[in-house]
Symmetry: C2
Subunit: 364 residues, 2 copies
């Protein structure tokens, strides 16, 4: 029974989510919030499935997509919201203002919706220098212009010195679902090719190195950018054969694939050797003992395409500026349901699980 059926009780609706995910929902048993609840891994999943969804249950949330949807006369809208608490607020390749625009625009774009507008709500720390604020507002304006969205509403709050770190930003994005798009985790089919729009791990690694906690210097810049051009190219090339898209932000490609495997009941098999990783990122990741597949991206997407159109979709993707390194990295299978497997560069096969803990806190 669909959760949309009239007269369904809250319990039936929750049960429906369970059945749709084809696995037991994570329970939330922790006594306190820890950093790992914000990391996009196992603890985040238990918070969302065990506490937030049952309390706020409705179809849009239950679909667990990157954006909620609203149907109006004549138009279907995608809406997504995100808070940004990245520290430091400036890092090679970007800053919180740019990230706040692109992060939300991208959640809308991978839902198959052309981003139209965003709202911007700031929590500023008392004592923040006006020049730093001005730089971030200018960064918001530039990123919004580049992404083709207007900032249509805003809010500003100030908290005392020591509360909030310079600034937090919350953006909500609004887009109109493209008529070519029929995207959903439930659309994944065995045999679908998994495309990745470029090299992984740059954003998370750039922010980590900007903290100067490691005696490590490397020329790594955040990949923050709008993904609508990539999404648009894929919709044009693959149409209804494009089954799903997702931007692998917090928790990286590994977490995004796990979420989709869980939501679809399918499995994903990745060929590690085919995943593009910049040499500097690979080197830094090895020194820090972090798998680049778990490191956040802010300008990359995963696309799931029926085998017959995968080649054309990959070619279209590679023609988009910033996606020249796009690659076919694996495929969807029926077994084992809900899991992600990776064929390693050394010829082995291992499970790529959800993150436990939070090796890279405050990355976005």
């Amino acid at each position: 029974m669909s959760a949309a059926a009239n007269g369904a009780t809250r319990e039936e609706r929750v049960l429906d989510i369970v059945q749709r995910t084809r696995s037991r929902p994570a329970r939330f048993r922790d006594a306190q919030i820890t950093m790992s609840h914000g990391a996009g891994g196992k603890a985040s999943q238990s918070l969302i499935e065990g506490l937030l969804l049952p309390a706020l249950c409705n179809d849009a949330l239950a679909a667990l997509g990157d954006a909620g949807t609203v149907a109006l006369d004549g138009a279907a809208l995608a809406i997504s919201t995100d808070s940004f608490v990245v520290t430091p607020i400036r890092f090679p390749g970007g800053s919180i203002g740019e990230l706040a625009v692109n992060g939300t625009v991208n959640d809308v774009a991978v839902s198959g919706a052309r981003p139209l507008a965003i709202t911007l709500s700031l929590v500023l720390e008392e004592g923040l220098s006006s020049s730093e604020l001005r730089e971030e507002i200018d960064a918001v304006a530039r990123a919004a212009q580049a992404a083709g969205v207007q900032v249509i509403a805003g809010d500003t709050k100030v908290v005392e010195r020591g509360h909030a770190d310079a600034m937090y930003a919350c953006t909500t994005g609004l887009g109109v679902i493209d008529p070519r798009a029929r995207l959903s985790p439930a659309g994944l089919r065995p045999g679908d090719h998994i495309l990745l729009s470029g090299s992984v791990g740059e954003h998370g690694m750039a922010v980590m190195l900007a903290r100067n906690e490691f005696s490590l210097e490397a020329d790594i810049r955040s990949d923050t950018r709008s993904l609508w051009p990539a999404a648009d190219a894929l919709l044009a090339a693959a149409g209804r054969d494009l089954h799903c898209m997702r931007d692998p932000t917090r928790g990286g490609v590994a977490s995004a694939l796990n979420e989709l495997a869980r939501a679809s009941g399918m499995s994903a098999l990745i060929r590690e050797a085919d995943v593009p990783v910049d040499a500097a990122v690979a080197g830094a990741a090895e020194l820090l003992g972090i798998d680049p597949l778990y490191v956040a991206n802010e300008g990359k997407l995963l696309a799931f395409v029926a085998p017959g159109r995968a080649g054309a979709a990959l070619a279209a993707l590679r023609a988009v500026p910033g996606c020249e390194q796009a690659a076919d990295i694996g495929e969807v299978a029926q077994e084992p349901p809900g899991m992600v497997l990776v064929d390693t560069a050394f010829g082995g096969r291992r499970v790529l699980d959800l993150l436990a803990g939070d090796p890279l806190p405050r990355i976005c």
Copy 2:
């Protein structure tokens, strides 16, 4: 020249805002952000007009309404966003979860739009107890149900202990503009009656007293509630004769009237004796040396109605639960432009200016 004219440069568009407000825009010259930039008074105005608007300039923002608007095929949407940083997170009559729903729903409602959906983005402090979080999520769910909106998208971030205070919440609300509504500060006309939907100052005073910083006990509860029923009743009773609505939150009735006077180039004259103030609020305000007209409300609206329909509008408002004390508190005039005057209970007349500083920080 309208800012919507094609080919207008950014400078022309900024100039247009200036002309529309019929007064010089506030300049932003402060070197640092202070608490007063978040108080909704003079410093907030200079931040918005001097920094945010020029950088992010577009028509929706320039209108300075409580919500931005987006026109789609067949529907006009109102969208509003707000961050909530109230401390403590629970207070008599409400809590941050309820506030985050109603505050945003009300910004949509006073724009003349029926609230449909909200998004919820949380910044949680590491160490927050799960039971406190659960209570707030339940409060969000209850308030959303009472307001008739669904929570359609969400996000959760966690920051280290000591950063953020228990939790911050950012909500964005979406509504469909009611076909009966033609509301805007520019719609204010000399002679319009100013209606207030009930007694003022309860929310701000309840939060202040909940901090236990004053040895003052009083039975004051926040007035947080959805204002759509009140807005709906006014639209039904006054139609196009309802010229503008505004919810007087941060900075209270005085700040909301000043914003509207400035945006419309009109003046507002208020009769202090006609403004309903609960006796406990009046007593606490007097002891703390704060004018209740500057204290935040979270369940009250101001409505500007043409004289011929003001009586019917007031009667309709008083029939709405929670608005029994609604009153006609003054009227709009042409002179002096951009100012708010108050006839005091003692027979004098004084200027009711924008707040300087922030006597009531972190109230929402």
